[in-house]
Subunit: 858 residues, 2 copies
C-alpha cells in the first residue's frame, strides 16, 4: 500500500512515464517532451497535483526516496508546475541539499566563494520562504564566510533550532511550504482572476541542478531564435557565467550569444556549445511545433537544458512566426490561423507607440480606437482642416464630437475628447475611420476660449503644442513619441488568405466615403454592408442645399433643392461602385432627423436666414419646430421617407444613374438599397412602390437595363417581430444592432455612458450591450426575425451591420444563425475575417472529435 | 315560373310572411313586428334586396299586381329599408297614384285645396327625384289650380311627354329611380363610410297612405314616451293636421300631444285617439323591448301607425332607459348592460355643452379629454393657482404643457393648447385629471408677452376673458356657454353594478394624488394599478429638497435631502391608503430623469444657485451634465434606483411606515411596489434586496408586522423577452404599454405627433398605436412575457397600466390573455367596467350559440 502509494505520489520523468498536463502541470509535461527529444535534461522527478494537495493537508512524502533517485550529494531545485503557466505559483527554490558538509566539499573543489555563495543563498531562501522568518534578518550580503555564519546564527536564534542539515528534511520542508503557498487565499484569488478554476492544482518538479558556479566554463542562460517584436529569425538571449539559473533580465556580466562587436559572446567562447544549443533549438521548434525559449545551464563546459517555454512575442511577431512555421511545414495552415488571436491583429493595422521608448503620460482616458498618432493640438474642425491643408498632422481636441465634426475628424490624425465612452460619437467614428482616439479623458480641462487644455497635473497645452494619442492604451503622451509603423506585410496577407480559405460567413465593411471603401477593398471586404448616405450631406455646398430643402415651403421647392444634390449624390455612388469593382454595395437611404443639419446657436441661425433670404424669426420658429424630445425615436429614417418622399426619390435616382454609369465602365453593378427604421410592413410597400417607379423611369429615360435589390434595416423590435410580412417585400434584412439594442433595452447609446460603468461593475449587465451583442434579449429578436423572414421568403439574405459586426461573439452568433454576412467598420475587417476562420476551425475540430477522430494534434 | 318569381319578388307584410331583416331590411321587419302586435298598420308590401337589385339592372316588376293588393285608387308611399337605418338610402316618395282622375275625386270629397296640394307635391317630387328634371322649374308654390297646371305643363315641356297618369307606371318609375339611386357611387361611398359592406342591399316598402289632409280630424304625428335628453318617462312629440306624413322638425301649426298651457293638444281634442296611441306605445315597449318612436297618421279620426323606430336618445337617456326596461322586467340586466355603449358613458362623467344652446366657435382642435368647462383665460400655472385661490374657475391656455404645469392643471377647470395630439402631455394629464382639454388648436396664435390669444378669424382674447372649452367635440366657444351637469345618478350606478356582476377581469385606476384616488374610489375601481410617485415631488417645498438631493456632493448629503422628503412621502401614502380602504395600491418607484426637476432658463438657474448657496457656474455645469439626448432612453427608472439607491430606500421606507400607520387605523394594507424601466433580471434582484432590507429595518424599528408585494413594470422589449427570469423575483408584472409601444416602434410619443396623422391617413399604421394597442407587435411581446412569466411562477399577477388600459380593444386583449386586471385613468374606470362586461356577455352569447342554444332573444 505504502509502496503503491509512493509509486503514484511521484514519478521520475522518463520518455515513457505517465506524465499529463492535467495531473502534473505544464512544466512537467514540457520537460518530458524535452526528455523524449533526447535533450540533455538533468534528472527530474514530478509530483502530481494530488500529491501536492496531500502535502498541503499534512501528509509527509518520503523525500529520502525521492532524493535517492538523484546522484549522492546532488543539489536539487523545486519548481512549480500548474496546468497553465499564466496562473502563477510559488517561486522556484534552488540549491536544496546544501549543508555544512556539502559546503565543505564544494569549497574544496570550486573554491570557498562559490560554495559560500550557494549555501548563503539557500539559507536566505529557506529562512524567508520556507521557515517564514523576517526577511530583514537575512539581508543580502556579499558571500563571505562571516556572512554565512551570521545567517546560520540568525536562523538558529529566530527558529530555535539550527539550520536543518538533512537534505530529506530540507526537501520535505520546501515541498510543504510551496504546497501551502498555493492554497493561500491571495494566491487563489490571483490565479482565479486569470481564469483558473477554484480547484486548480499545483504540481512540483524536483530537478537535479547543474553547478553554474563551477568556474569560468559554467553559467546559465536563456535563448530564443526569433525577434520577439518582429518575429523574424534571429538568435536572442543572454548567458552569464557563475549563475545557477538564467536571469531573465540579463544584468551585469551577461554575455552575448551570437558574435557581437559590443562584447564577448557564447558563439566566440564556446562555439561547440553554441552549435549544440542551436541544434536543440531547431529540434524544439520542429518537434514542439513552436518557437521556444530555452533555459540552460553549463557546468564545466557541459550543456544542460533546464526548461523550454513558448517564446514571448508581440502580436506582429505572432503572425510572422505562425506563417513561417506553416510555410516550413511544421504546422498546417489551419493551425497557423488558430495561433493568432483575432484581437491581436488590431495592433498591426495602425502605428503603435514604441514600447521601448519613454512615456510622459499627460492624461488617461478610454482607448476608444486603437493606434497612435502625434501632431499639433487643434480645437476646432476648421483648424483641423487648415492644418491638413498645410500638410501638418494634428490632434483634434474636443469636449465631445458631433456630426458636424466629421470633416475635422477626417482631417485630423488623432482625436481626444474630454467626454464620452466606447460608444460615443468620437469613438464610433474614430474606429470607423481607423483614427487613434482617446475619449472620456475626464481629468482634462478644456478651455475653449483660451484654446488650451490643462492636464490633471496642472500642465497647460496650447493650440499648436504637440501631443501623442495612444488609442491602444488610452493615454495621452507629451510631445512626439517614437512610433512603430503598421505591419500589413506579406505574413499578414498570407495568414488572412488562409483564414479566408476556411471561413464560412461573409465579411463586408461599413463604408460611407471613397476613403472608407478603399480601406475596405484593401482589407478584402466582400462588399459594403452599410453605406450611410447622410454623411454625404455635411460637406459645405451640400449642407446649403440640404438646408434649402428643409426650409422649402412646397414640394416643388423641395425638389428644386434636391435636384442640386442629385449630381453630387450620383458622383458619390459612381466613385463607390468604381472602387468596389462589382462587389455588392448596400446603400442605406437617408436616416437622421433633419434638425441635425441646422446650425447651432443664434449666430448660425442668423447666417442661415441671410443665406436663405428669409426672416430670422421664421428660421428660428421652424428650427424650434424641428427640435425633438427624443431624436432617436423621432422623425427620421423611413418616417422621413414617407412624409417627404422627394428625398428618397432623389437618392434612388442617383443610385440608379450611378449604377448605369459604373456598369458601363466596369463590372455590372447590382446596387442594394436599404430602408432604415422600419416598424411596419406598409412602410416598405410604400417606399418600394416609389423606388420601383423611379427605377422604371430611369430605365426608360436612359434606355438602360439594371437590377437592384431592396432590403430593410431591422432596427426596431417591431420590425423584428413582423419580419415575416416585411420579408415578403424585400430581398434582404440587415440588422442594425446598435439601434435595435437601444430600443430593446430602452437605452440611448448617447446617454448610457453616465451609468454603464456602474452597471457593468455591479454585474447588472454582464457587458456593455453596445459593445458585446446581448444574445439573450436582442439575440432572441434576431432569431425570431431570421426564422420568420426565411419562412416567408426563400433565399432571403440576412446580415448584421453596425458596431457589433466585427466582434468574435457576434460573428459566432451570426454563424450559428446561418446569416450570410456581417458588416463592420473597415479596420475591423481583418479581425472579423480571422475571427470567423477561428470559429469555423473550432467547429471542424469539434466535429472531428465527435466523429471519434482526434482533432489535429496540438 | 313567372308566378313563382313574382311570389319571391315581393310579399305583403302579414304576421306569417317570411320577412327578414337581412333580406328585406330593418323597416320591413319592424313593420311586420307592428303587424304582429295587431297595431293598425296600413297594408304594406315589401320588396326584398334581390328584387330591388334586379330593378336597378333593368328588370321590370309587375307593379299592377302590387297595386292590386291595395284598395282601388289607394295612394301609396315607397320608403327605403336597408339592413341598418344608419346606412341612409333614397328619400321616401309619397302620394303615388295621384293623377287627374284621382285629383278630381279627392277634390270632390275633401275639397280642391287638399287634392291640389297632394297632386302638386307628387308632381314636384316625381319630376325632381324620378324624372330628374331641373328642380328650379318646380319651385314650391302655394297649392292652387294655376300652380298645378303650370307644374304639369313644365313637366310635359321638359320631358316631352305628359305627366304619367297610370299608377302602375308611376310606381314602376319610382321603384326604378330609388333602386338606381342606391347603386350610385356617392351613395355607396357614404354608406361604406358608416360601416356598410360593399354589397349592402336595399329593400323597399310600398305602403297604403292614410289621408292626413282629409279635414280637421286628419293629420300626421310622431310620438315617443321618454325624454330624449334625460331618458325619464314623458310623452313628447308633435301632431299636425293636414299632413300626410309626420314632419320630424315640427313646424307651424303643430299641436302638443299632452295637455299644455301653451296651446291645443291631441289629448284635449281627441282623447280616445290619444289613449289608443298610448296603449300602442306601451305595447311596442313591452313587445319590441325598447322605447320606440311611433309615426302615425289620422284619417277622419281613425289612427294608423306607419312605423315605429328606436326612440332617439342621448347617452344619459340611454342609460336610464336601459335600466328602467330591466327594472320593469322587459329585458334582463345583462341586456340592459349591452344596450349602453361603453364610450357613451364618458359623456355622463363630465359637464357637457348643452346641445340646445348657441355655439360661437372660436377655434377647433383635438378633443383630447371629454367634457366642458368655462372660465377666465390664464396663461401660466401661477395665474391658474391664483385664480383657484380666489375661487374663480379658469382655463389654462399654453403652447403645450410640461410636467411643471401639473399644479396649474390641477388648479384649472379646462386646458387649451396650441400644440400636441391625443397623446401629448396636456392630453394625457387632462384625461387623467378628468379635465376638459382641447389640444392641437393650431389655428390659434398665443402671444406669451402680451398674454393674448388670437383666433383664426382675428378675434383677440386677453387674460381674464371668458372662454368655454368643449373637450368632447374639440371646440373652443366664446363666452360662458350653458352646460349640462354630469349624470352620475342611480341609473348610472345600477347599470354599472349589473356590469360588475358579469365582468370577469379586474379594473383598477391610475391615481397619483388623493383627489385621483377619491375619484377612483367613487367609480368603484378595485384598487390603484399605478401610482406615479414623481408628481409628488413637484410641489414647492418638495421641489427644493429634490433639487438639493440632485446637487448633493455625497451620499450623505443626498440622504439628508431625502430625509426631509420622507415625512411628506409617508403622508402622501397614508392618505392614499386611507382613501382606498384596504384596496390594493400599486406604487411605482421614482421614474423620471432628474433634469425634469431643474428650472429652465438662466434666471431659474440663478435662483437655484442662490437657494443652494453654490456658484452659478457649478449649477450650470451640473445641469448641463444632466441633460440628455434622448431622455426617454436615458438615466431614469430603475437606472436611477441602482445608481442612486438612496431614493428608492427613502420611498420604500415611506411606503412601509405609511402601511403600518394606515393598517392601525383601518383595514390591513398590503402595498404593492413596482420597479420601473427594468431591462435585466439583475436590476430586480438588486432593488429587491435593498427594499427587503428596508422592510426588515422598519419592522424592527417599529415592532410591527406587514407584508408587501414587489413587481416589475414591463416597459422595455427586453423585460418582456426576459420575463421568465424576471418573474422569479416578483409577485406581479404590469405592462406599461405607453413606453413599451414607444420602444417596440422606436417612436417617441412626444415626437410622433409630427407625422402620426400622415401615417394613419396613408394606412401605414392602421391606428395611432398610442391610442389603440398594437396587437401584432406590442401585443406579441405581451403574450411572450405573460407565457414566460406564468411558466416561471405560479400565481403571478398580470395587468396593464397606462393609457391603453381603459380601451375596449385592450380589455378584450387582456381578457383573452387571462390578465388579472387593467388599470386606467380614474375617469375611464366606468367605461372600462362596462366594456369588460360587454366582452364577458358577448362571450357567453357566443358560447351559448356554439352550444346549440340561441342567445337571449334580441
Amino acid at each position: 500500500m505504502q509502496h503503491n502509494q509512493t509509486f503514484a505520489d511521484w514519478a521520475e520523468i522518463t520518455p515513457t512515464a505517465r506524465i499529463d498536463r492535467d495531473s502534473h502541470g505544464w512544466r512537467a509535461k514540457c520537460l518530458q517532451r524535452l526528455v523524449r527529444l533526447n535533450l540533455p535534461v538533468p534528472p527530474v522527478v514530478a509530483l502530481p497535483f494530488s500529491t501536492v494537495r496531500s502535502i498541503a493537508q499534512g501528509w509527509q512524502p518520503d523525500t529520502a526516496a525521492i532524493l535517492a533517485r538523484f546522484a549522492a550529494g546532488q543539489l536539487v531545485s523545486v519548481r512549480p508546475s500548474s496546468e497553465n503557466p499564466d496562473w502563477g505559483g510559488p517561486g522556484t527554490i534552488l540549491n536544496i541539499g546544501m549543508n555544512d558538509a556539502r559546503h565543505a566539499e564544494l569549497a574544496a573543489i570550486h573554491g570557498e566563494d562559490a560554495a559560500t555563495s550557494l549555501y548563503l543563498r539557500f539559507v536566505h531562501t529557506y529562512a524567508v520562504h520556507v521557515a517564514r522568518l523576517d526577511p530583514d534578518l537575512f539581508e543580502d550580503e556579499r558571500p563571505c564566510p562571516g556572512a554565512l555564519a551570521r545567517a546560520l546564527a540568525a536562523f538558529a536564534a529566530e527558529s530555535d533550532e539550527p539550520f536543518p542539515q538533512d537534505p530529506a528534511r530540507q526537501l520535505a520542508d520546501v515541498l510543504r511550504s510551496m504546497a501551502r503557498a498555493w492554497e493561500g487565499t491571495s494566491a487563489r484569488l490571483l490565479r482565479q482572476a486569470k481564469g483558473a478554476p477554484a480547484d486548480a492544482g499545483l504540481g512540483l518538479v524536483v530537478q537535479a541542478m547543474a553547478l553554474g558556479v563551477a568556474g569560468p566554463d559554467s553559467g546559465a542562460g536563456l535563448v530564443q531564435f526569433v525577434d520577439g517584436v518582429t518575429g523574424r529569425a534571429q538568435v536572442t538571449g543572454r548567458f552569464r557565467t557563475g549563475m545557477q539559473m538564467p536571469d531573465p533580465v540579463g544584468g551585469d556580466g551577461a554575455m552575448y550569444l551570437t558574435r557581437d562587436p559590443r562584447g564577448p559572446s557564447l558563439e566566440d567562447t564556446h562555439p561547440a556549445l553554441f552549435a549544440e544549443l542551436t541544434r536543440h533549438g531547431a529540434a524544439c521548434r520542429a518537434r514542439l511545433r513552436d518557437e521556444m525559449q530555452i533555459e540552460f545551464t553549463v557546468q564545466q563546459g557541459r550543456l544542460w537544458v533546464l526548461d523550454a517555454t513558448r517564446a514571448p512575442r508581440s502580436s506582429r511577431a505572432a503572425v510572422r512566426i505562425a506563417v513561417q512555421l506553416a510555410e516550413d511545414g511544421v504546422i498546417d495552415e489551419g493551425e497557423a490561423v488558430m495561433r493568432v488571436q483575432p484581437q491581436a491583429l488590431a495592433e498591426l493595422l495602425h502605428p503603435q507607440v514604441d514600447p521601448r521608448g519613454p512615456r510622459d503620460v499627460v492624461a488617461r482616458g478610454i482607448g476608444a480606437s486603437p493606434g497612435a498618432a502625434r501632431g499639433r493640438i487643434v480645437f476646432t474642425s476648421g483648424a483641423a482642416s487648415a492644418s491638413a491643408a498645410r500638410g501638418e498632422s494634428c490632434i483634434l481636441v474636443r469636449r465631445e464630437t458631433t456630426p458636424e465634426d466629421i470633416r475635422g475628424m477626417h482631417a485630423a490624425h488623432g482625436v481626444l475628447t474630454e467626454r464620452g465612452g466606447m460608444t460615443s460619437h468620437a469613438a464610433v467614428i474614430g474606429r470607423g475611420l481607423g483614427l487613434p482616439c482617446v475619449v472620456g479623458a475626464s481629468g482634462l480641462r478644456i478651455d475653449t476660449r483660451a484654446n488650451t487644455v490643462t492636464a490633471p497635473d496642472g500642465r497647460i497645452f496650447a493650440e499648436g503644442d504637440i501631443l501623442t494619442v495612444d488609442g491602444t492604451r488610452g493615454e495621452i503622451l507629451a510631445g512626439a513619441v517614437e512610433l512603430l509603423e503598421p505591419a500589413l506585410d506579406e505574413a499578414f496577407t498570407r495568414l488572412l488568405e488562409w483564414a479566408d480559405a476556411v471561413r464560412d460567413i461573409g465579411i463586408r465593411a461599413n463604408a460611407d466615403t471613397p476613403a472608407d471603401a478603399r480601406i475596405a477593398r484593401d482589407f478584402a471586404a466582400e462588399g459594403i454592408g452599410l453605406c450611410r448616405t447622410e454623411h454625404m450631406f455635411f460637406e459645405e455646398d451640400r449642407l446649403t442645399a440640404m438646408r434649402e430643402m428643409i426650409f422649402a415651403d412646397t414640394a416643388q421647392d423641395r425638389r428644386g433643392a434636391l435636384e442640386r444634390l442629385l449630381p453630387m449624390q450620383r458622383a458619390d455612388f459612381i466613385r463607390l461602385f468604381d472602387i468596389m469593382q462589382g462587389q455588392p454595395v448596400c446603400i442605406r437611404l437617408f436616416d437622421p432627423p433633419l434638425h441635425e443639419f441646422l446650425p447651432h446657436g443664434r449666430e448660425g441661425l442668423r447666417n442661415l436666414a441671410d443665406a436663405l433670404d428669409k426672416p430670422l424669426s421664421e428660421i428660428t420658429r421652424r428650427a424650434e419646430a424641428l427640435a425633438e424630445y427624443n431624436p432617436m425615436l423621432g422623425m427620421r429614417g423611413v418616417r422621413l421617407g414617407i412624409t417627404i418622399p422627394e428625398i428618397y426619390e432623389m437618392q434612388a435616382r442617383a443610385i440608379f444613374e450611378a449604377t448605369i454609369e459604373a456598369s458601363r465602365k466596369g463590372a455590372p453593378v447590382v446596387p442594394e438599397i436599404m430602408i432604415p427604421l422600419v416598424s411596419a410592413r406598409r412602410e416598405v410597400e410604400l417606399v418600394k412602390a416609389r423606388i420601383d417607379a423611379v427605377a422604371a423611369a430611369v430605365r426608360v429615360q436612359r434606355g438602360a437595363r439594371f437590377e437592384y435589390r431592396l432590403g430593410v434595416m431591422v432596427e426596431t423590435p417591431r420590425a423584428a417581430l413582423r419580419a415575416g410580412e416585411i420579408a415578403l417585400h424585400c430581398d434582404f434584412l440587415s440588422f442594425g444592432t446598435n439601434d435595435l439594442t437601444q430600443m430593446t433595452y430602452g437605452l440611448s447609446r448617447d446617454d448610457a455612458g453616465r451609468f454603464m460603468s456602474t452597471y457593468v461593475q455591479q454585474g447588472v449587465y454582464p457587458e456593455d450591450p453596445f459593445h458585446t451583442l446581448d444574445v439573450d434579449g436582442v439575440g432572441e429578436l434576431l432569431h425570431i426575425a431570421a426564422d420568420r423572414g426565411r419562412a416567408a421568403r426563400d433565399g432571403l439574405t440576412l446580415s448584421i451591420c453596425g458596431e457589433h459586426g466585427g466582434n468574435s461573439e457576434s460573428i459566432a452568433f451570426c454563424r450559428a444563425a446561418r446569416f450570410d454576412y456581417v458588416s463592420c467598420s473597415p479596420f475591423r475587417v481583418p479581425v472579423a475575417r480571422l475571427a470567423a476562420a477561428h470559429l469555423a476551425l473550432a467547429d471542424r475540430a469539434r466535429d472531428a472529435a465527435m466523429g471519434g477522430e482526434s482533432p489535429a494534434a496540438r
